[in-house]
Symmetry: C2
Amino acid sequence: MSFETYFPVWDKLNTCQKNRILDGLTARQVKKGTILHNGSMDCTGLLLVRSGQLRAFILSDEGREITIYRLFDRDLCLFSASCMVRSIQFEVTVEAEKDTELWLIPTEIYQSIMKESAPVANYTNELMASRFSDVMWLLEQIMWKSLDKRVAAFLLEESSINETSELKITHEAIANHLGSHREVITRMLHYFQNEKMVRLSRGTVTILNKEKLEALQDT
Amino acid sequence: MSFETYFPVWDKLNTCQKNRILDGLTARQVKKGTILHNGSMDCTGLLLVRSGQLRAFILSDEGREITIYRLFDRDLCLFSASCMVRSIQFEVTVEAEKDTELWLIPTEIYQSIMKESAPVANYTNELMASRFSDVMWLLEQIMWKSLDKRVAAFLLEESSINETSELKITHEAIANHLGSHREVITRMLHYFQNEKMVRLSRGTVTILNKEKLEALQDT
């Protein structure tokens, strides 16, 4: 499978545009935990995920984190090239959550094509709207949902992504996804354990009763 | 001042596109409090504010509100035409916060021009990025800032928009802007009053010590 089959609007580009992208492109393999972009760094470029998993999050001054969205195979990361759109006035950090293979498209090449091509500009619009929708969903969760429901939803999502009920994740990492504190998450997980929804051991949360977690999430 | 001087990328349109917009356009005057768009309604069209003030907010199932951004003279409201961009998967309500004059551009006309015109598509992108930045700012406020700072910031913003230190606003309305409860806001405002930052009377919050509110907001 080559780049052409991964890039979303490839067949809308003319030959010249295709060549500009292919000439500028670099393939990269990064290890889990690699920071690919952070808000204060220069404009890294667009990242197209071939395989693996990326996480975009924001950071408070005190170093607290909250995950705003995740990217999987075939997803294109726009905010690592945020200088491309003048009105993007916020900073996200992007890290590899698993070992990841990706392509890096230089910002100036994508930007120059977007300026001249309505299909590429409209595609970029859809991409931004899709990330915007993720953040609006998150905002609604934070505003209207209590933390027990958010933790339940997070465990179920992790289990679905990794196709296992035995999650290798620390309480600290869960807190960082949800913008909470480790102590608060630990207390919540112990409550879940007392209710026989999960079993806790060092570095592992095992889901014992998926139905009960789902019921909690949906209330 | 005519529509042409208000529409942001007018000089990037060709004659045919200009005529399509002018033919489809309607001017409207709405009273303060009018709901111009709500999430479940059909795609209203793009709203271009001539004068006045609009507020976009989200609603919880229980009827709680939180303001996500405001629109002033010359601003274009995209989310009242959200059907235009398939990936917009969230619902906002738009109401007139003051008596407002505006133009309504039918969705299908703007959309058809956006599909063929790279400048209009790129402008739409900037617009979306700008609203996205507003929501990211809000998310950071909610996540990392305590409510006293958010109330202080809100009072200062209201005072700046209306160019007065005597704000005609109820505790309920402040709660709806900030996604909080009236009782919580009332308690906070009484604390501000004890600290001599504001004076409360029926339907009015008067700012007495702007510097102290600013200092609180910035800590």
